[in-house]
């Protein structure tokens, strides 16, 4: 009898607690925590009350819809706006296909994005805009169903993402006089372009610099270290100013436009920080891993690609994503040399005599947009970490 009882499977105790229990455990477990909780509630009440009263009675939100196009695309001409939508459609198709192929995180982002388009279509916007929005949803949905389960397409889609990059630049710019000069790119569009270029280029640059800094060849190590330390010793704003002024002096023949100069500045700056983050990961790889890889017969490139980088990068995902988020926000510095990114638009709207005294509304709106994108990156990073089992194996 007793033996039978012993071999019976014992379930772990259920660890779901009710809300009441959670409150008691976390907020009211001691008398001083109870006091702190009450004080915090009182403070929250007054702060929220003030804010909500302002937001619903005093604030003049008209300024946002009236300048919405400015916020989104700056002075991108209305009659060329189809270019932006075409770019969005290219991304929608890729996103839908990827959501179908990979599911998970990409699928959640695709759904969220469709939600945004849907809500936009419900707002009192022009009929054509409404059409474009619904079209984007259709693009995502159709390509989602096309992509579903076709795992053999994966390498092609990855290639597509890489290729989409130059294609979108060309679509947005067009050719010659019929196109849209980059000096007319602005608003959120410009912010996103600067951030995406910065992130996509500075990441491999940083990995490359970090590997060079670990190299056995002193010359390579020295060049890389000098670059990293020099760039890290100078504020981004200085680099942007220098890029603006110096690139034309060093390469007088080349007509490198201002947006491109800012891209170069941001990328070089971020690459140096990225290198240090990656190096942190590289240093965490025990010597035994290199030795085991060599003993199996892998050469340097194979060891780096298959053993070192996967482990090193995984361990520094939080730092790398932190760097991406910083970069995203730092793009706002380009407004200082005269580009009209999201923050630049905010400033110019406030300076407009029609909308005097509406700083709070405008900056709050800009802040919410910055937050949404940064939070999305942070969310993605946590999701990827869980997926890769960081810290588990």
């Amino acid at each position: 009898m007793e033996e039978q009882e012993l071999t019976q499977e014992i379930k772990p105790p259920a660890n779901t607690k009710g809300l009441g229990r959670w409150l008691k455990d976390n907020l009211f477990n001691t008398w001083y925590n109870t006091l702190l909780t009450c004080l915090a509630l009182v403070f929250l009440f007054f702060a929220l009350k003030g804010f909500l009263t302002w937001a619903f009675t005093e604030a003049e939100w008209d300024v946002i819809p009236a300048n919405f196009r400015l916020f989104m695309v700056g002075s991108y001409p209305q009659e060329q706006i189809w270019r932006v939508w075409n770019a969005i459609y290219i991304l929608s198709v890729l996103m839908g296909l990827s959501a179908g192929l990979w599911g998970g995180l990409v699928l959640r982002f695709a759904v969220a994005l469709s939600g945004v388009w849907f809500i936009s279509a419900l707002l009192p916007v022009e009929l054509s805009t409404r059409g474009w929005c619904l079209g984007a949803i259709a693009m995502i949905a159709v390509s989602f169903f096309l992509g579903r389960g076709r795992t053999s397409l994966r390498p092609w889609i990855l290639g597509g993402w890489i290729l989409s990059f130059p294609v979108i630049m060309v679509v947005l710019r067009g050719f010659g006089e019929n196109g849209v000069l980059t000096s007319n790119w602005g608003g959120l569009l410009l912010t996103l372009i600067l951030a995406v270029v910065g992130i996509v280029v500075s990441f491999p640059l940083g990995v490359f610099l970090a590997l060079c800094r670990q190299s056995n060849l002193p010359a390579i190590r020295w060049v890389s270290t000098t670059y990293i330390e020099t760039v890290r010793g100078v504020p981004l704003i200085t680099i942007l100013f220098m890029g603006n002024v110096l690139i034309p002096i060093f390469m007088p023949g080349l007509d490198i436009n201002q947006v491109l100069r800012m891209m170069i500045g941001i990328t070089f700056f971020s690459g140096a920080y990225m290198a240090e983050n990656v190096r942190g990961g590289l240093q965490g790889i025990p010597r035994g891993q290199h030795e085991a890889a060599q003993a199996v017969g892998l050469n340097y490139v194979q060891t780096t690609l298959f053993i070192v980088l996967p482990q090193a990068l995984r361990s520094v995902i939080p730092a790398i994503v932190g760097q991406f988020i910083a970069l995203f926000k730092d793009t706002s510095l380009v407004s200082i040399i005269g580009l009209i990114d999201l923050l630049g638009v905010a400033k110019s709207v406030i300076a407009n005599p029609d909308w005097l005294g509406l700083q709070a509304e405008v900056y709050l709106f800009a802040a919410v947009i910055y937050f949404v994108f940064c939070y999305a990156m942070s969310y993605a990073s946590q999701d990827i970490e869980t997926d890769l089992g960081v810290g588990k194996h």
């Binding site: 035994g288 890889a293 003993a295 017969g297 482990q311």
Partner: protein, 253 residues
Amino acid sequence: MAAQENALNDPIIMCEDLHKWFDDFHVLKGITTSFQKGERAVICGPSGSGKSTFIRTLNRLEEHQRGTIIVDGVELTDDLRNINLIRQEVGMVFQQFNLFPHLTNLQNITLGPIRVRKLTKSEAEEVALSLLERVDIADQAYKYPAEISGGQQQRVAIARALAMEPKIMLFDEPTSALDPEMITEVLDVMRELAHSGMTMLVVTHEMGFAREVADRILFFDEGMIVEEAPPADFFDNPQHERTKLFISQTLQH
């Protein structure tokens, strides 16, 4: 024993006056010896005597500064092609296992065959699964190293080395990091490997294993081979004072 006698004059590893320094510290002070095809050699000696350094020079995890090493007819020099050739012929098992934690056990084993021997994925997996069967852990193929016990990890590491179809296997204290109850399972695998005719160089403190399996025992002290002999002579009739002391100390435990 038969394997050794047949191949008596067929050395697969030859070391001639091997020297190695770590900065100013002279670790290997003129090692001259050779290992026959199919020979099972055990290397023992006090801590810091250069045992690990010696076997690590044989696949160039450490560089030697003087003398020659010839493995299966190829001389170990700075020439990367020679180093890669030799590394494919020499498998190594480490004290700390050194499995790749981001890969499953199966992927740990297939990586080398796919990338270096250029097998297809399915060929490599077939090889890997039969090796996992051989080391008796076929059921752990799709787990990650962190999810299995130390003894199992070491057996995966042995399978990983064997997947490259090496002619020689080097073991650097393969059981020193294991709990006592797991030592046997790893030694069993090594015993089976020894009986299959593999050339093996084993650094170990497991004197029972040495007595049972070794054709020859090499005793290292202060970077030199102080004594080398078949196990019977080595344990029962040691010649050198330091060997006697070492044996009396290790057999006490």
